[in-house]
């Protein structure tokens, strides 16, 4: 049974008050600034995402994502610079290539790959940050708690 099959089950078990734990790895030069802009503009979004500022998405180790999920995070989000805009030339491309591999691992772990999300959010896209975080939180709520939680 994969996580996908468990969707309904998770929802039933979780009830309406399930608040997912989401770990976010945000690039210092773009997505972290976008989050600052969203805050400064007093845009409101659900407080589920716990942000970790990284210098570049290129420094996000596969093990960071897996560690979070294995420890029971319900979702992991990585936010980096748009293609061509990396502050360190090519870090975001490397991150994309590396982290695409995460999806295969999640499938092997019978976790829904949609619990992992990689987004390009530039420093001026405060509104996009809010949209992505809000949607992702809602998606995870729909999926229910991670089956690895509490193991």
């Amino acid at each position: 049974m994969t996580d996908k099959d468990r969707k309904g089950e998770g929802k039933a078990a979780a009830g309406d008050d399930f608040e997912p734990v989401i770990v976010g790895f945000f690039c210092n030069w773009c997505t972290a600034s976008a989050a600052d802009l969203a805050g400064t503009s007093r845009m409101q979004y659900p407080p589920n995402v716990r942000p970790i500022r990284v210098m570049c998405t290129g420094s996000v180790d596969t093990s960071f994502v897996l560690r979070a999920l294995l420890e029971g995070a319900d979702g992991v989000m990585v936010g980096g610079c748009h293609p061509g805009d990396c502050h360190y030339v090519t870090g975001n491309y490397r991150a994309r290539r590396r982290l695409t591999g995460v999806i295969k691992i999640l499938e092997a772990l019978a976790l829904d790959p949609e619990r992992f999300r990689f987004e390009w959010i530039s420093a001026s896209e405060g509104a996009k940050f809010v949209k992505v975080v809000t949607e992702f939180t809602e998606d995870i709520k729909r999926m229910g708690p991670s089956p690895l939680k509490g193991l």
């Binding site: 608040e19 734990v21 770990v23 030069w29 773009c30 600034s33 989050a35 600052d36 969203a38 805050g39 400064t40 007093r42 845009m43 409101q44 979004y45 659900p46 407080p47 716990r50 942000p51 970790i52 500022r53 990284v54 210098m55 570049c56 290129g58 420094s59 996000v60 180790d61 596969t62 093990s63 960071f64 560690r67 979070a68 420890e71 029971g72 995070a73 061509g84 805009d85 990396c86 502050h87 360190y88 030339v89 090519t90 870090g91 490397r94 991150a95 590396r98 530039s122 420093a123 001026s124 809010v130």
Partner: protein, 656 residues
């Protein structure tokens, strides 16, 4: 056990109104590594900093978590404060509980408080594993590259050059001067650009420290603050500028005469071989290869025969020059929305409907009509003109949501200058609001209304069309609620200002960003308006957002001051957060080498282990994520540090 101090700022009510500070202090104090937790209303204030410094000394704290606003604002403040009392600044970390917590979660105080606590505890886990670091000294190149030769670029170039820096002023057209050179007179003083701009242009052209790279564009920029490498493409002029004297014979003989002049914004034509305007700096001709008969078809060649300096060669003399640069100032300015956007106002269809910048050329003594106001269609003197403001501005549904800022003032000026030229003429101005917020600006508008009898009508225009040699303007006067029909001879549209074309490509090359409208993004709108997020790159003038000349010049001097301050030392101190390699773990596979975009990490052929060049490493941390043996790490961003932050978020606390 480490002795970490946690200091929680209320930021007035910005944090305290949402986050339960007492609860935060209580929970954070229970962490075994936290030796002290305290809150204060404004931690960044002098008493706040003194409080922190006092506790460092009194309690012997060996690490700090400052829970307050984003690190972009006060990371440096608190690191400096700690350093002053002997705590290594890299043992201070920020937990952002304002932009990331209290502001975006104002309606959920309980969950916001939980989030704040977790962020602070995660930061405690990080900082307790931080190591002391010392800044790295790197040599700097004492030169500045300024991109864009308008009044912003010229002002910044003169300031930097006067401070003794070597300046490379790169301009994509064949002369510096920019948009200001095309203006008739400038508000609110009515100086003409020939009186106030051309002396600056000449000064820049003759300054021993300034090199103007006219007809040139940026090909590529690499490197980092203090040590950029720029490739500048000198576009093909087909004329040897070392021989060209700017005599203009090529322009007089060139048979291709019907090319719309960029300088005159299409109100006059130019030839294929041309100097854009008589005061051009440098005063050199170029051949436009899209229109030259010789270059297109191999026919003509008359300019080469007639050129007294024998400067014309018809050879593609494109050249790429590499420059070593310490700082970069981007001054690419603005344009107006292209004419094809405004069909409903007849722009591009009715010849006597023109844009504001086109009307400037009709008013300018240096313009095609020598300052006589004439209708483009038949050359007659317009007796009535309607000026329409906010065309494409403040119109989020169709065009741009923002106010283009300079139109109220230049429309008032144009109406005034029109009255000076046509004494019995009548000017009407359709406006939404009049924004005249500069020094002497409101008085200027009042003068236009009261002394020059310009008639201001509050309302927007719905339609503009031709009827029996007149232009009919339909609109509403929203103050009286009456529908209005005017029959005028000319219509001038104050079209929306937009960022210069090509700015997005340039921004990518510089690794700086633009906003959704193409304006270059500053590091902080209020407190760092001339800096970008990329160290060593500054913004001047309308490239950041529409500005009038006064503001442009002020910002240009501001950007120059930043560049001068940066380059005033022989060495730059770089943040020491760079990669390092555990020599015991490294197997010399060289995988890190393939990742690094800067060539900063390489396997030493003698030791067979990877080594980091600290002058080149930018600290992205990519090699650490790429290293299969876990030997490479980014200092103070170690794997264990990140893991413990993650665990704080998933389990609430790291089990010791």
């Amino acid at each position: 056990m480490p002795r970490i101090g946690v200091f929680v700022c209320h930021c007035g009510l910005n944090i305290a109104a949402t986050v339960d500070i007492a609860k935060v202090i209580d929970r954070v104090s229970q962490h075994p590594a936290v030796a002290h937790a305290e809150d204060y209303i404004f931690m960044c204030s002098d008493p706040g900093q003194l409080l922190v410094q006092g506790k460092i000394q009194e309690l012997g704290l060996d690490g700090l978590v400052m829970a307050n606003c984003s690190p972009t604002l006060h990371e440096r403040t608190f690191r400096n404060a700690a350093a002053l009392v002997g705590l290594n600044p890299y043992l201070v970390e920020i937990a952002n509980i304002r932009e990331a917590v209290s502001w975006p979660h104002m309606k959920e105080p309980e969950r916001a408080t939980e989030k704040a606590i977790e962020i602070i505890l995660a930061t405690v886990e990080k900082v307790r594993q931080n190591t002391e670091l010392h800044t790295i000294k790197v040599p700097v190149t004492h030169s500045v590259m300024i991109i864009g030769g308008g009044v912003a670029g010229i002002q910044a170039a003169l300031d930097c050059a006067d401070a003794g820096l070597e300046v490379h002023l790169v301009e994509r057209t064949s002369s510096i001067g920019g948009m200001m050179a095309s203006l008739s007179e400038t508000f609110p003083t009515l100086d003409c650009p020939q009186c106030i701009l051309t002396p600056k242009m000449t000064q820049a052209g003759k300054h021993p420290n300034i090199r103007i790279h006219a007809y040139s564009e940026i090909e590529e920029v690499s490197g980092f603050v203090g040590n950029f490498q720029a490739k500048v493409r000198h576009k093909a002029t087909y004329i040897d500028w070392s021989k060209c004297t700017g005599c203009g014979v090529c322009m007089t003989v060139c048979p291709t005469k019907k090319i719309p002049s960029e300088y005159n914004h299409g109100m006059a034509n130019r030839t294929a071989a041309y100097i854009p305007f008589p005061q051009a700096v440098p005063n050199r001709a170029v051949i436009d290869d899209k229109n030259c008969l010789w270059l297109l078809k191999g026919k003509c060649g008359i300019c080469a025969k007639k050129c007294p300096a024998e400067a014309i060669h018809y050879e593609d003399n494109t050249e790429i020059e590499e420059l070593e640069i310490g700082a970069i100032i981007v001054a690419t300015g603005m344009e107006v929305l292209p004419v094809e956007h405004f069909g409903e106002y007849g722009l591009g269809k009715i010849p006597d409907v023109v844009t504001g910048i086109q009307f400037e050329r009709l008013l300018a003594p240096s313009g095609p009509t020598a300052g006589k106001v004439q209708r483009p269609s038949d050359g007659t003197e317009p007796k009535e003109i309607a000026f329409l403001q906010c065309i494409g501005s403040r119109d989020p549904a169709n065009y741009k949501p923002y106010c283009s800022k300079v139109c109220c003032m230049y429309t008032g000026k144009q109406a005034m200058l029109y009255k000076h030229a046509v004494h019995d003429g009548q000017a009407f101005v359709f406006y939404i609001d009049i924004r005249s917020d500069g020094k002497g600006y409101e008085e200027f508008i009042q003068r236009a209304m009261e002394e020059e009898k310009v008639l201001y009508i509050r309302g927007k225009v719905s339609k503009v069309f031709e009827d029996e040699g007149k232009i009919v303007v339909w609109g509403t006067d929203t103050l009286t609620g009456k529908w209005i029909e005017l029959r005028v001879d000319m219509v001038v549209l104050a079209t929306a200002a937009v960022a210069s074309s090509g700015v997005n490509e340039l921004a990518s090359k510089l690794r700086i960003t633009t906003d959704e409208h193409g304006w270059l993004k500053e590091a902080h709108l209020k407190l760092q308006p001339v800096e970008t997020l990329t160290a060593g790159i500054y913004l001047a003038g309308a490239a950041q957002f529409v500005k009038d000349i006064s503001d442009t010049v002020a910002q240009a001097s501001g950007a120059a001051a930043k560049a001068i301050a940066l380059l005033s030392k022989d060495h730059l101190e770089r943040v020491p957060i760079i990669a390092c390699v555990d020599q015991d773990l490294c197997v010399g596979c060289g995988y890190c080498e393939t990742f690094c975009a800067y060539g900063a990490i390489a396997v030493d052929p003698v030791t067979g282990k990877a080594e980091v060049n600290e002058g080149l490493c930018e600290g992205c941390g990519g090699c650490a994520a790429h290293c299969p043996s876990g030997a490479a790490t980014l200092t103070n961003y170690g794997k264990k540090q990140v893991f413990d932050m993650i665990t704080t978020f998933t389990n609430g606390q790291v089990v010791q």
